[in-house]
C-alpha cells in the first residue's frame, strides 16, 4: 500500500515481506530508481522484525515493509552486498538489537562504543532466554589497517580542533596523501530512541529537537507530520506554511553558516565575516517569528505554538527579502573569487554512480547529479506557489557543493518569505487527540537543510509509542566524505569536510 506522507490521506499500512524475499524485493525496487528511506528493526508479536521504508521517487509515495525474523532468530542474510546504502543501517541494527547481518562485508559497531557493556543491546526488549543465548557479545572496535611501505596513521579526534562536534577520523597516509579514511562515530550516542519511547508522547517534540539541535525546526516538523500521519489528523494550512517557513529559514541560516566555515577553511577571513554577519540577520528573522534563534518549541504535532501576529509576519517577509538580496550581493566574494575557486574546483569529487549506490541525499547528492529533493518528490502544495528548481550540478566537488548550498540559501529565503506572506491568521489551532491509536504506524519526511530527514513512529496494542526511528540525512552521506578525500592531501580534508557539513549527533542519536 502506498501513501503520501506529504498530504496525509489515511493511515499507513505495512506490507509483510518474508525475510528470505526481502533482499530480492529491495534489489528490484531500488534498481527501479526508488530509494531506501530507512532500514531498522522493531519488536513484533513473535520476536524481532526488520522494517524497510521505500520511497518511490517517481510517484512520491512510500511503502513500508515488515519482515519478521523467525521465532528467536537473531540473524539474517545481509542486504549490503546487493545494496551498499544498507551498510550503516545494518551496523546500527546489530549495535542496538544484537541482530547479526550474516555476510556483511564490514560489520563493526557504529554507535555502541567499547565503554558500554558488550552484552547491552539497548533496544532489544523482546528477549527470550533463547535469543539472549544466541546473541553474541559485541566485538571490540578494530580500525581497518592499511599496510605498505611508509604508510602511517593520523588519528584525529574525537575532540576536534574547531568549535564542532566530536567524532574520530583515522587517516592512513602515504606522505601527505590520504590512502584511506575511516570515520568512527558514536561519541555522542545519547540513547535518543530509547528516551523517546520512555517519555510522554506530548513531550516528544522537545526531545526530537535535540536529536541534532542545529536542525531543530526540521526534526520537529518531521515529528509533527509523523504523529499526524499516525493519528490521521491533517495539519491546518497555516500551520503547514509556518512549519515549512521555519525549515527554509533554518536551511538559509545553516547554509550561510557553513559558507562562513568554507571561507575560514580557505583562509579567506573577509568572506567569513561578511557571511557571518548575514547569518546573524537570518537568525534575527527566526527569533522574530518564533521567539528563539533556533526555532525551538514552536513546531508541535496537531498545532503551532506562538503563532505570530500579522505585523510580525509582514516585517519577517520584508527582512527575508532583504537578506536574500544581501546574500546575492556578497556571494561573488566567494563564488567569483579565483583564489577560492582554485582550492574548491575538482577537490573531493563524488561521481554520480557512487552517489546513487550509496544513496546520497541533500546538497551533497544534488552536487553529484542526484536531483532528489523531498520538496519536489513528495507532494507539498506549499512549495508549488513559487517557480523554483533545486540547483543540481554533476561535478560533485567542493565547488559544486558550495554552489548548491549558496543557491539553495537564496531560494530558501524566497520560499520562506512567500510562505510567511500567505499566512492568514494568528489563531493557534489545536486538534490534539486524547490518546494515540493502537497498533499504528506514522511516517514524516521533510527536506532538512542536510537532506532527506525521516521520522517513523509505531504504537503498541495499548496506544503507547513502542518504536521511534529517526533517520538523519547525514547517516546517508558520511561514507561519501571518506571516499571523497581518498588520494587528496591531508591538509585539504577540513575544506572537504565543511563542504559536506554533516551532523554527528544526528547520526549517533
Amino acid at each position: 500500500m502506498n501513501t503520501q506522507p506529504g498530504v496525509f490521506t489515511g493511515a499507513l499500512k505495512m506490507d509483510e515481506v518474508p525475510i528470505m524475499q526481502l533482499r530480492a524485493r529491495l534489489k528490484s525496487e531500488i534498481g527501479d530508481g526508488n530509494r531506501l528511506g530507512l532500514l531498522t528493526a522493531a519488536d513484533g508479536a513473535d520476536g524481532h522484525q526488520l522494517l524497510t521504508l521505500i520511497i518511490q521517487t517517481q510517484s512520491g509515495g512510500v511503502s513500508l515493509l515488515n519482515s519478521p525474523l523467525p521465532h528467536d532468530a537473531v540473524s539474517y542474510a545481509s542486504l549490503t552486498p546487493d545494496l551498499p546504502q544498507a551498510h550503516w543501517f545494518e551496523r546500527e541494527i546489530a549495535d542496538l538489537w544484537g541482530i547479526r547481518p550474516v555476510g556483511h562485508p564490514r560489520l563493526k559497531s557504529l554507535v555502541m562504543h567499547d565503554s558500554y557493556p558488550t552484552d547491552l543491546f539497548p533496544l532489544a526488549e523482546h528477549v527470550t532466554a533463547a535469543t539472549a543465548r544466541k546473541r553474541s557479545r559485541r566485538a571490540p572496535y578494530r580500525f581497518t589497517v592499511v599496510q605498505g611501505n611508509g604508510v602511517f596513521e593520523v588519528p584525529v579526534g574525537p575532540v576536534h580542533a574547531g568549535i564542532i562536534e566530536p567524532g574520530h577520523f583515522r587517516f592512513s597516509c602515504l606522505g601527505e596523501v590520504i590512502e584511506n579514511l575511516e570515520i568512527r562515530l558514536g561519541f555522542v550516542h545519547r540513547g535518543l530512541e530509547e528516551r523517546l519511547t520512555r517519555c510522554d508522547w506530548r513531550m516528544m517534540n522537545y526531545l526530537v529537537e535535540a536529536a541534532s539541535s542545529d536542525t531543530a525546526a526540521a526534526n520537529a516538523t518531521a515529528h509533527a507530520f509523523a504523529m499526524e500521519n499516525l493519528c490521521s489528523v491533517p495539519a491546518a494550512p497555516d500551520v503547514r506554511k509556518m512549519r515549512y517557513a521555519c525549515i527554509e529559514i533554518e536551511r538559509a541560516a545553516c547554509h550561510i553558516g557553513d559558507l562562513v566555515g568554507i571561507c575560514t577553511d580557505l583562509g579567506f577571513g573577509a568572506g567569513g565575516t561578511a557571511f557571518s554577519a548575514l547569518r546573524g540577520d537570518v537568525l534575527g528573522v527566526a527569533e522574530l517569528l518564533t521567539g528563539t534563534r533556533f526555532m525551538t518549541s514552536v513546531i508541535v504535532p496537531f498545532a503551532h505554538k506562538y503563532m505570530p501576529a500579522k505585523p510580525l509576519l509582514i516585517e519577517a517577509t520584508r527582512r527575508l527579502r532583504t537578506c536574500s538580496s544581501q546574500l546575492r550581493s556578497i556571494l561573488p566574494l566567494l563564488l567569483n573569487n579565483g583564489a577560492a575557486i582554485e582550492r574548491m574546483e575538482g577537490m573531493g569529487d563524488i561521481k554520480t554512480s557512487l552517489a546513487r549506490d550509496f544513496g546520497l541525499v541533500g546538497p551533497a547528492g544534488r552536487a553529484s547529479g542526484i536531483a532528489y529533493d523531498v520538496r519536489k518528490v513528495i507532494a507539498q502544495p506549499e512549495y508549488e506557489q513559487v517557480e523554483w528548481q533545486p540547483p543540481t550540478y554533476f561535478e560533485g566537488d567542493v565547488f559544486a557543493r558550495t554552489r548548491v548550498r549558496a543557491e539553495e540559501a537564496i531560494v530558501a529565503m524566497e520560499l520562506a518569505a512567500d510562505m510567511v506572506s500567505r499566512i492568514t491568521s494568528s489563531h493557534e489551532p489545536d486538534s490534539s487527540p486524547a490518546t494515540l491509536p493502537a497498533n499504528s504506524v506514522g511516517v514524516g519526511i521533510v527536506e532538512a537543510w542536510r537532506g532527506e530527514l525521516i521520522h517513523l513512529v509505531m504504537t503498541d496494542s495499548h496506544g503507547r509509542v513502542s518504536r521511534y526511528k529517526i533517520k538523519d540525512p547525514s547517516f546517508n552521506n558520511w561514507t561519501a566524505l571518506s571516499i571523497a578525500v581518498r588520494g587528496r592531501l591531508l591538509s585539504d580534508f577540513p575544506l572537504c569536510n565543511k563542504s559536506f557539513g554533516l551532523s554527528y549527533s544526528g547520526t549517533d542519536l
Binding site: 565503554s115 575532540v159 566530536p166
Partner: protein
C-alpha cells in the same frame, strides 16, 4: 567580484557596542520568578504539568514558594505563558551565568543572578578549549561569539585547538558515556590553574536526555564546573557572560 568587494568595503561596522543588552522583544527569554503569590494552594499546577524536564517544584508545606531550576529549563516558554498570577514571568537578561549550581534554582525573593566577585585566576585574557558532547546548536552559538557582531577577542577571549594552551574548558552537550573519557582526558591535558564552564541546559542537567542507558546526564557526572550558563542553547551574550564571569571581569560583575 569587484562590485561585491566595493559593496563589502562600504558596509558599516557590525560589532555590537552595547555589552550584555537584553534579548530582543521578540525573544521568548528564560523564566524568572517574582514575589507575586502563587495559587498552587487553590489547586493550580499549570506550569509544572507542561514542563518537559520537570524543572518546576511546586510549593509544599515545608517550602512555601515555587522553585524553578534554570539548569533543567529548555526554554519552551510554557510556564511563563500559563502562569495566571505572574509568579513566573519572562526575563530577557543576558547576564545569566552563575558560579554555583544551586544559584540556578530560582525562588521568589532570591536574586536571579549571583555575581560574587570571587577570586579568578584570570583577569585580562583567557584561552578557551571548547568541547562539544552532543549539542550542536550550542556549538553554533559558541562559534557565533567569535564573529564580528559579538567579537569575543575584544574581551581577551581566544579559542584554541589544543588543551595544552587552554585556561578554560568550555563544555556543551549532555556528556554521554562515550564522551566521558575524552572529556576527562582533555581536562587533564590542561595546565593549572583552570576553569570549567558548563554551557547550556544539556550540559548542566542532560536536559531531555537525563536518565537513559547512555548516561547523558550532564557534565557534572564527570567534571565539577566552576561556572554554569543556562539556556537551550544559550544566546552568545549569555555564553560571553559565562566566560567574563569566569575571568572575574568587571563587565560581568557589574549588574
Amino acid at each position: 567580484m569587484l562590485p561585491s568587494l566595493l559593496n563589502y568595503l562600504k558596509s558599516p561596522r557590525c560589532t555590537a557596542d552595547e555589552i550584555f543588552p537584553d534579548l530582543s522583544a521578540a525573544n521568548r527569554g528564560l523564566p524568572a520568578i517574582t514575589s507575586a503569590p502563587c495559587t498552587h494552594g487553590e489547586g493550580c499546577t499549570l506550569c509544572a504539568d507542561g514542563c518537559p524536564t520537570k524543572a518546576i517544584e511546586l510549593p509544599t508545606d515545608e517550602k512555601p514558594e515555587v522553585a524553578l531550576d534554570l539548569g533543567k529549563c529548555v526554554g519552551c516558554g510554557h510556564c511563563m505563558r500559563v502562569c495566571p498570577t505572574k509568579t513566573i514571568v519572562t526575563s530577557r537578561s543576558t547576564r545569566t551565568a552563575v558560579k554555583r549550581r544551586e544559584d540556578l534554582v530560582l525562588r521568589a525573593g532570591r536574586p536571579t543572578l549571583n555575581v560574587d566577585a570571587a577570586h579568578s585566576p584570570f583577569k585580562q585574557s583567557v584561552v578557551v578549549r571548547y568541547v562539544s558532547t552532543g549539542d550542536n546548536a550550542t556549538d553554533l552559538e559558541v562559534a557565533a561569539c567569535t564573529n564580528p557582531i559579538f567579537d569575543a577577542s575584544r574581551f581577551g577571549i581566544h579559542f584554541t585547538a589544543s588543551p595544552r594552551f587552554a585556561d578554560v574548558l568550555l563544555v556543551a552537550g549532555p556528556a554521554p558515556l562515550a564522551m566521558q573519557e575524552p572529556l576527562c582526558q582533555t581536562l587533564h591535558a590542561m595546565g593549572q590553574p583552570r576553569v570549567i564552564i558548563a554551557v547550556g541546559a544539556q550540559a548542566i542537567s542532560g536536559g531531555m536526555f537525563c536518565g537513559g542507558y547512555a548516561n547523558a546526564n550532564g557534565v557534572s557526572s564527570v567534571l565539577q564546573p566552576d561556572v554554569w550558563v543556562p539556556g537551550n542553547p544559550p544566546h552568545p551574550w549569555m555564553i560571553l557572560h559565562g566566560l567574563l564571569l569566569a575571568m572575574g571581569h568587571p563587565l560581568a560583575l557589574h549588574t
